[in-house]
Amino acid sequence: MAYEGDLNLKATELRLGLPGSDEPRKKSTPSVRSNKRASPEISEESRTRSNSSASIAENGDRDICAPPAKAQVVGWPPIRSYRKNCFQTQQNEAEGTCMYVKVSVDGAPYLRKIDLKVYKSYPELLKALENMFKLTIGEYSEREGYNGSNYSPTYEDKDGDWMLVGDVPWEMFIYSCKRLRIVRGSEGRGLRH
């Protein structure tokens, strides 16, 4: 992920790998923080994989050319999410590559935390929020905010101001967002005036 304003050292990095191939470490999917979510695409994948011959005799050596999707099976290896996330978090925090913010939803009894760095754009983020809290947010429009839905996502920025999610470019947003709050329709529209 290229960060605007950075020297973009990644692009000039010397590595043994095909151009465009990801670093080996990056295997977390957006669903890694939402512990309870089973990704339907992935479990479909794992089933078709196992229904084909179960006696695939791989040679004992470590697969250098293992199919990339092999790492993404839901619930495998059988480690509790808490434990998996613990080390992911530690690694991320050590590298400074995470950006956890609290998300609250009006009317919901508890807060969640998400890592903004995991998303690459507003639509991705909004979709994730919709899934996490089971609500619809709808489409963003510069003039009218989030019309046609009951909920509007807002965030508190570095200056302590409450803004409507989507008003600033994505990169600026993830660096200035301190916490998110999904408000009921009428209040969100208030931010538009």
């Binding site: 006696s55 808490y82 807060l111």
Partner: protein, 642 residues
């Protein structure tokens, strides 16, 4: 209440003819049917709960038989029974006693004080509270274990709410509650705190649905609280300072475990709490507690026997060169410390502080500590009394060799992966397993995650550690064979079931053919829990197990090619089991329907992932369990109950 069906041989000790002779003296109905067939006897156990007499002293029940009416001897008998049955503590013994006759059933129900419910859907709260009226302690388990790995939709169920409502009315004197994999809300905790004035112990293991506001209720209202243990539960951060909610007066708190609570706490309040809890023996801190703060607590509570150290790193605002407290002395002062855990964000330089307690430790949990063999060695070298060890594979095979060299009393070992994916370099292997098997001969329980393994090492363990009760090997690469010979892992697991005569729990992995299952069916006669993933070739695999393992109670299978024919081969046994889980196998809804029709007391749940419209004919997830209640009414849309 475990509907715990014993195999036939046990039932023969309760000779039905003997009972009939005694009938006139007891003047009770004895409608307990002879133990001819497991299903029938279970049914009579079911019918007992429905035809239970309520409060009558003459003993005549609905299926009344002309009898000698003698209320007074009954009274005496029941009093005697009551006094005797009080001494029965094991629930298996109590279940057996309750089957003797109606009188024993009733008295047993009156004298049982601890209720164990292995599956919260096996019976309703109302049924439980009607039968058992004097319960002081309840253990309740909900979701199947695979829920831990995100295989169950989050709305699946196992709600504590109906239970707490029923118990609030039926057991106002309730003292202990132990929940596992239940969804508990803040409201439930509030009701609990309001309803049970003498409440003493709350243990929540792998639970979710509540937050720090729920904890605040418990802390403030449960004045007799001795134990508050939150273990591997998901606790949301409601930004409530629950630690401050404990009463200001001296407390009888004995155990406070909150290492899984992932939010900051009010440390000063915690320090004051520890200071006014002279009975505190167990304290497990979360990772918001720095090592400096830990020191302050240890100094106040040298009487601790169990300590979870929190982060075990200095807080950010400790200036360099600032005088650091004497951690070694703090540990040295804890002369009773036997169980150490925590180290959630360890800075390994501080690890030597624990040297003074190593010689006394019986349990050490380093499974969140990313340390290598070099860092482990000086610690483990002193842990001669260690019985339980949990570590990360960061210690490598060398670290395990160091463990094997010293820990001769070890009876439980768990090796967790620091990198939980399939294709990474594996720091532990058969070398570590072999070393452990040679050094730790008393081993009873092992959980071992690795990337590569050999049959030879597993066979060695089966021979060196014959006392194994729990053997769980997870070769993380799916379908991985023995990496030296290229063979399937059949022989290794076969040796385990053959040589370990006490084995009750087994988890298999790696490349496995039906042969492995034939071994399990042939030799695994004591196996109660079996976990299978990505294994087997055909229906025969599952058939071997269902036909061969009479003690099997919990069976969880994923991604294995077992189909309807295999499922049907277990019809004779399903009423004896707590549950069966099968996901991503080759079951069709037709097959599941057949089971549901054949076994009316079984609840057959089929869960199909919402987004999977065209999965073909195969059922995504099957979860079935015996139940007295029939289909539950709190299932989400994705669950269909056949």
């Amino acid at each position: 209440m475990v509907i715990n069906k014993k195999p036939r041989s046990h039932n023969h000790s309760l000779n039905p003819n003997f009972m009939r002779e005694d009938r006139t003296e007891m003047s009770e109905d004895d409608d307990r049917s002879p133990p001819s067939d497991s299903v029938t006897t279970t049914d009579s156990c079911f019918s007992k709960t429905q035809t239970r007499t309520s409060g009558s002293t003459s003993g005549s029940g609905p299926s009344s038989v002309p009898e000698f009416q003698a209320p007074y001897p009954d009274q005496v008998l029941e009093n005697v029974l009551e006094n005797v049955l009080c001494f029965l503590t094991s629930r298996r013994d109590r279940n057996a006693a309750s089957l003797v006759c109606r009188s024993w059933y009733r008295v047993e129900a009156l004298t049982r004080s601890e209720l164990f419910i292995g599956n919260c859907y096996a019976l309703s709260p109302r049924r439980a509270t009607s039968r058992f009226t004097r319960i002081r302690s309840v253990t309740l388990k909900g979701k199947p274990r695979f829920a831990d790995f995100n295989l169950l939709p989050p709305t699946w169920g196992a709600y504590f709410a109906p239970w707490v409502s029923a118990m609030a009315k039926a057991y106002p004197w309730l003292e202990k509650l132990h929940l596992k994999r239940m969804t508990v809300t803040d409201d439930d905790l509030a009701l609990l705190a309001e309803s049970f004035s003498g409440f003493k112990e709350l243990v929540l293991v792998c639970c979710d649905g509540f937050g720090t506001s729920g904890l605040a209720y418990v802390a403030s209202k449960c004045r007799q609280l001795r134990v508050l243990d939150l273990i591997e539960s998901e606790v949301s951060d409601d930004e409530v300072d629950w630690i401050s909610c404990f009463p200001e007066s001296e407390m009888c708190l004995e155990s406070l475990i909150f290492d899984c609570v992932d939010c900051p706490i009010n440390f000063d309040a915690l320090e004051r709490l520890v200071a006014r809890s002279p009975s505190l023996r167990k304290l497990r801190l979360n990772r918001s507690v720095s090592i400096g703060q830990l020191h302050r607590l240890m100094v106040r509570a040298p009487q601790l026997t169990h300590l979870g150290t929190g982060s075990f790193r200095p807080s950010e605002d400790v200036a360099h060169g600032e005088q650091e407290p004497d951690y070694v002395s703090a540990f040295a002062a804890c002369e009773s410390l036997v169980c150490l855990s925590g180290f959630r964000e360890i800075v390994p330089d501080y690890l030597p502080a624990i040297y003074p307690v190593c010689a006394n430790l019986t349990s050490l949990n380093l499974s969140y500590a990313n340390i290598n063999a070099e860092q482990l060695r000086p610690i483990i070298r002193n842990c001669h009394k260690l019985q339980i060890l949990w570590v990360l594979d960061s210690i490598c095979d060398e670290g395990l060799q160091a463990v094997a060299a010293t820990c001769k009393e070890l009876h439980e070992l768990r090796v967790f992966p620091i990198d939980a994916c399939e294709d990474s370099e594996g720091p532990v292997s058969e070398v570590g397993l072999q070393a452990i098997s040679e050094g730790c001969r008393k081993l009873q329980s092992i959980l071992y995650f690795c990337q590569r393994m050999t049959n030879a090492a597993v066979i060695a363990m089966s021979k060196n550690c014959p006392d194994l009760v729990v053997f769980r090997l997870c070769i993380m690469g799916r379908h991985r064979p023995d990496h030296v010979t290229g063979e399937p892992m059949d022989e290794g697991f076969g040796a385990i079931v053959m040589n370990c005569k006490n084995l009750t729990r087994l988890a298999v992995s790696g490349l496995l053919t039906d042969r492995a299952f034939s071994y399990i069916g042939r030799y695994g006669k004591t196996v109660r829990t079996l976990s299978v993933a990505f294994a087997g070739d055909s229906d025969m695999g599952l058939k071997y197990v269902l036909e061969g393992c009479p003690r099997l109670q919990k069976l969880e299978i994923r991604d294995s090619p077992f189909g309807d024919a295999a499922l049907l081969s277990g019809l004779h046994h399903y009423y004896n089991m707590r549950f069966l889980w099968m996901s991503s196998c080759k079951l069709t809804s037709g097959g599941c329907q057949q089971i549901a029709r054949a076994l009316p007391r079984l609840v057959v749940e089929v869960i199909n992932d919402e987004a999977d419209e065209d999965m073909g004919n195969f059922v995504d997830k099957l979860y079935m369990y015996r139940s007295l209640e029939g289909p539950r009414d709190d299932a989400p849309k994705v669950v269909s109950i056949l």
